[in-house]
C-alpha cells in the first residue's frame, strides 16, 4: 500500500465512527437469546421440564400472539430498526480532513470553528467573546455582535473568513457565512 492510499484509509476511518460497540451489544443480545433457546431446546429434547416455557408453547404463543407478545414484538422491531439504521447511517464524527504534505491531518469541527472565528474576530476588531462560530459538515456560521455605533461589513468579513478556509482546504469543503447581529452592545 502506498502512503497516499494508507493516509486515505486512516483519514476515512478517523472521520467515521466505528460500529464495534454497537456490534458487541447486538451480538451479546443475540448470544443471550441463543443461550436461552439452546437450553430450552436441550431440556425439551431430554424430556425434562422447561426453565420458563417449552418450545411447543413458545411456538404456539408466536402463532397466536397475545397483547403482551405483540408488545414484545414491537420492542424487537424497534431494536431491529435501530441496528439497521446504525448499519446504514454514515456515523460522521464531526471532523474535517486538512491536506498536508507529510501527515494525514484530521481536525475536530470545534477546532476549525475556533480558527475561523479567530480570523473573523481579528478582522472585525471586536472582543473574542462576541464572536460565536459553528462548523458542520459543509457549512460554517460566524455570528458577530458588533459594538454599538461601529458598523461591520458582513460581506467583507465573509470574504475574509472564506479566504482563510480556502488556504486550509478542509475536506469536505466548508462554505462560511458571517452574520453581523442587528443589535450591537456597548463596551467590551
Amino acid at each position: 500500500m502506498t502512503e497516499q492510499a494508507l493516509y486515505r484509509r486512516l483519514v476515512r476511518r478517523s472521520l467515521h465512527r466505528s460500529r464495534s460497540a454497537a456490534v458487541v451489544v447486538a451480538l451479546v443480545l443475540l448470544s443471550l437469546v441463543a443461550v436461552y433457546v439452546g437450553i430450552e431446546a436441550t431440556l425439551a429434547a431430554l424430556g425434562r421440564g422447561p426453565l420458563l416455557i417449552t418450545p411447543a408453547d413458545a411456538v404456539a404463543a408466536l402463532e397466536n400472539p397475545t397483547t403482551i407478545v405483540l408488545a414484545g414484538a414491537a420492542v424487537v422491531a424497534i431494536i431491529g430498526i435501530v441496528f439497521v439504521l446504525l448499519a446504514l447511517l454514515p456515523g460522521s464524527r464531526g471532523r474535517h480532513e486538512v491536506p498536508n504534505e507529510r501527515l494525514a491531518v484530521v481536525v475536530d469541527d470545534s477546532v476549525l470553528a475556533g480558527a475561523i472565528g479567530g480570523v473573523a474576530q481579528r478582522a472585525s476588531g471586536v472582543a473574542p467573546s462576541r464572536v460565536v462560530t459553528s462548523v458542520s459538515k459543509r457549512r460554517g456560521a460566524v455570528t458577530i455582535t458588533p459594538t454599538s455605533g461601529v458598523p461591520l461589513d458582513s460581506a467583507a468579513l465573509s470574504a475574509t473568513a472564506q479566504d482563510f478556509v480556502h488556504t486550509l482546504q478542509p475536506r469536505p469543503a466548508v462554505k462560511v457565512g458571517v452574520t453581523v447581529a442587528a443589535n450591537g452592545v456597548v463596551g467590551a
Binding site: A41, A44, G80
Partner: protein
C-alpha cells in the same frame, strides 16, 4: 484506531437488525393477517437438537467476533534488528519529542500518541496516531506546521518515514482551561 473490519461490522448489524424486524413482522402478521404464511411446526426430537446446536454455533461465532475487536494496537513505532540485537522505539517517545516542540505553543493543552499496525497487500507496517488537544482559538495552521516540522526532524533522526495521523481535537479540559490572553 484499530484494524477491525468496519464493513463487516455494519454487515453484521444489518443482518441482526433485519432478522429482528422479520421476526416481529411474522408475529404481527399472525395477529393482523396480511399475507398467508405457513404454520411453524412444533419442534420435536432431532429438530430440538439441531436448534440447540445452531444456538451453540451462534454463541461461539458471536464470542469469537467480540473478542477479536480492537486488535492492531502496538507500543513500538519502529523495530530494527541487527546482529547486536533489537531496538524498538515506543510510541510515547515520539509523542514526547513532538510535545517538546509544541510546548512553546500556548494553544496546545496536551499531546498523546498511539501506534497501530497497518495491513496492506504489499506492505504492512506501523502507523503513529498523534492526538493534539488544542484550545478552541488555536492558530490551526501554525499548529499543523509545527507538528509537521517536528515529525520531519523525527524522520531524520530515525532515517525512515513513519505514516503519521495527526488529530487536532478540543477536549473537555480545553474548554474548561482558562484562555491566556495578553492585551
Amino acid at each position: 484506531m484499530t484494524r477491525s473490519n468496519r464493513g463487516l461490522n455494519r454487515g453484521i448489524l444489518a443482518i441482526v437488525g433485519l432478522l429482528l424486524i422479520a421476526l416481529s413482522a411474522w408475529v404481527a402478521n399472525r395477529a393482523y393477517p396480511v399475507i398467508e404464511l405457513p404454520a411453524v411446526p412444533v419442534p420435536e426430537g432431532a429438530t430440538l437438537w439441531i436448534i440447540a446446536a445452531s444456538a451453540l454455533v451462534v454463541v461461539l461465532l458471536s464470542l469469537a467476533w467480540i473478542v477479536t475487536r480492537g486488535r492492531g494496537r502496538t507500543h513500538a513505532v519502529l523495530t530494527a534488528t541487527d546482529d547486536s540485537g533489537t531496538v524498538s522505539i515506543d510510541a510515547r517517545v515520539a509523542a514526547d519529542l513532538i510535545a517538546q516542540d509544541l510546548e512553546a505553543l500556548a494553544d496546545v493543552v496536551s499531546v498523546s500518541s498511539s501506534a497501530f499496525r497497518t495491513t496492506g497487500r504489499k506492505r504492512s507496517g506501523v502507523a503513529l496516531e498523534l492526538r493534539v488537544v488544542a484550545r478552541r482559538h488555536a492558530d490551526l495552521r501554525h499548529l499543523v506546521d509545527t507538528v509537521t516540522r517536528s515529525v520531519e526532524i523525527f524522520d531524520e533522526a530515525l532515517e525512515t518515514r513513519i505514516p503519521v495521523l495527526l488529530h487536532v481535537a478540543t477536549g473537555v479540559r480545553a474548554s474548561f482551561t482558562h484562555e491566556q490572553r495578553v492585551r
